[in-house]
Symmetry: C2
Subunit: 528 residues, 2 copies
């Protein structure tokens, strides 16, 4: 009975399922680095479908490369921040997070939270520079956009949409503690089986793990309430009426979450949430000639692809040597994206590249394993091509991503700061030689490919839906109009308990009254 | 920017998105009447895709028509029940439910629950006759089916699948109080904004409505626990080990719910739930010649289509006259599906038919309104073609369905047992002459048509997915392995409260001890 699932996907792709329609106008409020890489895939698809895409970004933005020709338009607004300021803040945050000894989560999160808040202050400054820039806002008003596409991990998109009176949609990997998804999306996260992001837990938790998960929930709930206050002020000022960040975020028409059930543990969703993980993945293209020759020279042993986050550039010599020495001992050829001093222990089987075509390498039939920092984009490329992983997670959701892959049996996890050469060597041997890892990676790959509609097509469909219907109000849960007390039915439970208590009290009083009356009559009769 | 959404759907349909693949073997445990009509659409689609479909049903089944040629195979097992017994039980239930004065829900549900339990006893007898029939079970074992498709509103499919050791999927409109979806599907139903089915509430509830909704939840929770006990016994006996109905039901790979967000109020779902309402809907075909002539004779006024449940046949003469008299007064022509004594008040504008091509009539450009009992299938045909409704709900989910359409502004609701001719006349005039009703019906129609994949294709895709992958375990929420206490984190909350209480107690004791010590020392010093 087995069917060729790939044919379904190919047919869908070839069918013109989303044939070019009339042109819409999309305004984009993006976030930097890997967020941008993912979002750009959506923008390219929108452009290809004939839509006009304008990315609103500041003069301090790192993602804008004016030398690269692109059909995407960029509206660049001035800010007193410089590219260097912005890059410096990001680098300090990611480096501190990466190279910090991993005490407990509470310790290290409290140590980096100042850097996180500094980053958000910076985003807030950019937002202020955009929305209070009258000329810019007039220009945007006149452009008559149909929809705003924003990444809520750097807020402002919702405020722009409110000012321009147009609907908006979100693309999001995660917010700290899923607080934004919960309080602005209305998504339920039962802490009994939904591990909070950054907890590195799975959906099968022991009692103490569930206690830990609950504490994460409480911690982030308080943390985020405090965080949002600053934004409430700016948003109220910009709109000229009291409002809050969460209130505006609640108006999002569709939430595109950058995961799917190949990666995520099954959990409740809502009709206006679309899980579109891996939308940037695509079949491998041929490698550059010199690289292909090196890959082919690996023979039956195949190759290992190794790439850490492009944000982390300052790897110490000691770490580089530990890694290079492990790589030198595997029978595979190794392709390592690395842009620093050449390690002394580098083996002849390892080639260093400043940049690698990662997706094409992962899709190469010779590739046996992927050593990765565990960014969601890279993980998805490995899932797409069914490649087992060795994870050296560094910051943000990376430890969590690797924990997911480990639970699903497709990765081994190591600690970048403390591993020895032997650890890395053993991990590599395990994922390459134990067939279970390949099997599990292939299983995830099959799940990823076997969807009724490809994630990118689904994303484009719903963005176009919002443009066609000027929103997607029919998907909006009424939960978003309830207070916390109402949502959890605490007022109703209180009322019903009060009714039961009153009824019990009245009945008891009546019974006691009757008993006393009866006893009195009895005594009187006895006396008579 | 508006796009022709219909083109997306047509292209998808024409594209061969689901091209015929290798053949799978599907075993079906169906439910009668409208449930069967809906399920048959899925079975026909599966047959068309090259799969072998076998419907397992008893000799008492009403749905099997041996005179109708069909590519669907029927495996009919003997039972001591007769068609008449079965029909009689169903008729008694539906008639009592329909013609009962509608006191409060509690009164009438308690009056009909004996009939409901009688119906389930009957289903249980059929189930027993199937699973304890050794020859039949051996035959089914040897047939090596790939998947069971069942309607859990008549249990047994899950037991068959367990005995045959194959995965199963569900097609379901609703269970009483959503108890099956909640306790076997793991679906959250926050009573604060998800109105319980049969409550006739919307998602925007006042405080007292939320109280009412909560009481429905509690009522059905207790009701269903009691109901399931009988089944637990049968299931344990058949499997030779202690088990429960809910335990087996929890193994469902995919749940196809026969509604969508055109009909339903947005509420939480889970990855293994697919909302496929209206999968049976299709474009209208031309009408029979005589009927088309009658329709065309209506001129600009157009026609009204009128059809009540095929289960309710014994309409009183008095009710028929009230209805006919109202219909006689509208300027439209009326097509009425009616199979009883011709009412005296029947107008010349009204034609009676024993059977009507309902979908083709609703899709006719002359159709202005639909008078319906509010069955989910009929409602979906009206949504599909964008026709406003007058609802005369009778039993089961019909009052709820009409309540949904009323809230969405596409229907007026009347009480079948008490309406006067004027009520019906006014209602008809309202939905035909107030353009808002047509507008809202068209809005629902647009929502229905504008999906990335048509509901029937989605259903077939996921059934084939389960056959291809021998299940869909990656979609199964871990919630299904938790107890009620664990799911609601009551143990964790208890533990954390105990920790806080202990810490408070110890700290208070310490402070008091220190205070006393300090005071004693102070007094001593004073004395000295």
């Amino acid at each position: 009975m087995p069917m060729k699932w790939i044919s379904v996907l190919l047919l869908l792709q070839l069918s013109g399922h989303f044939s070019p329609g009339s042109c819409g106008k999309v305004l984009v409020w993006p976030t930097e680095y890997s967020h941008w890489i993912n979002m750009k895939t959506i923008l390219d698809a929108l452009v290809q479908r004939g839509h006009e895409v304008t990315v609103l970004t500041s003069s301090a933005s790192i993602l804008v490369d004016p030398n690269k020709p692109s059909a995407i338009q960029f509206e660049i607004f001035p800010t007193s921040l410089t590219k260097d300021d912005f890059e410096d803040i990001l680098m300090r945050l990611t480096s501190k997070w990466t190279y910090m000894p991993k005490y407990t989560f509470w310790t290290y999160f409290s140590l980096i939270q100042d850097n996180i808040l500094e980053y958000f202050d910076c985003i807030q400054k950019l937002c202020k520079d955009a929305v209070l820039n009258k000329n810019l806002m007039r220009k945007l008003q006149e452009s008559r956009f149909d929809v705003v596409l924003a990444d809520p991990s750097g807020p402002c998109g919702e405020l722009l949409a409110e000012l321009l009176k147009i609907p908006f949609v979100y693309s999001l990997r995660f917010s700290f503690g899923y607080t934004i998804e919960k309080y602005s999306g209305g998504l339920p996260f039962p802490p009994s089986y939904v591990p909070i992001v950054l907890s590195e837990l799975s959906d099968q938790m022991t009692f103490m793990e569930r206690v830990k998960n609950m504490m994460y929930v409480l911690y982030f709930d308080f943390w985020f309430q405090a965080f949002s206050e600053k934004w409430d002020q700016l948003y109220s000022e910009a709109l000229g009426r009291p409002t809050t960040l969460f209130e505006l975020m609640r108006k999002a028409e569709i939430w595109f979450i950058r995961t799917y059930w190949d990666f995520e543990f099954p959990r409740p969703l809502l009709p206006h949430f679309q899980f579109v993980g891996g939308l940037h993945c695509k079949p491998a293209k041929p490698l550059p000639k010199e690289m292909e020759e090196f890959v082919q020279s690996s023979g039956e042993n195949g190759i290992v692809v190794f790439s850490l986050s492009m944000v982390v550039t300052n790897m110490t010599e000691e770490r580089a040597n530990v890694i290079a020495s492990a790589l030198a001992q595997v029978p595979q050829k190794v392709i390592w994206r690395y842009d620093s001093k050449i390690p002394d222990t580098l083996g002849p089987n390892t080639q260093l590249y400043k940049w690698i075509p990662q997706n094409d390498l992962l899709g190469h039939p010779k590739t046996k394993a992927f050593i990765t920092h565990g960014g969601a984009n890279g993980i998805y490329e490995a899932i797409y091509h069914g490649i087992p992983m060795v994870g050296l997670p560094m910051f943000a959701d990376q430890p969590d991503n690797i924990a997911h892959m480990k639970t699903k049996g497709a990765a081994v996890r190591l600690d970048f700061n403390t591993i020895s050469s032997t650890d890395l060597l053993n991990a590599l041997k395990t994922v390459i030689n134990d067939p279970l890892y390949k099997e599990n990676a292939m299983k995830l790959s099959r799940i990823h490919h076997d969807q009724p509609v490809k994630p990118l097509d689904r994303t484009v469909f719903w963005i176009e839906f919002v443009m066609r219907h000027k929103g997607a109000k029919h998907l909006r849960p009424a939960a978003l109009d309830l207070t916390w007390v109402q949502y959890h039915s605490l007022d109703v439970i209180g009322f019903l308990l009060a009714c039961v208590a009153t009824a019990t009290f009245v009945i008891t009083k009546c019974v006691l009254f009757c008993c006393r009356k009866f006893l009195k009559t009895g005594k009187k009769k006895k006396r008579e």
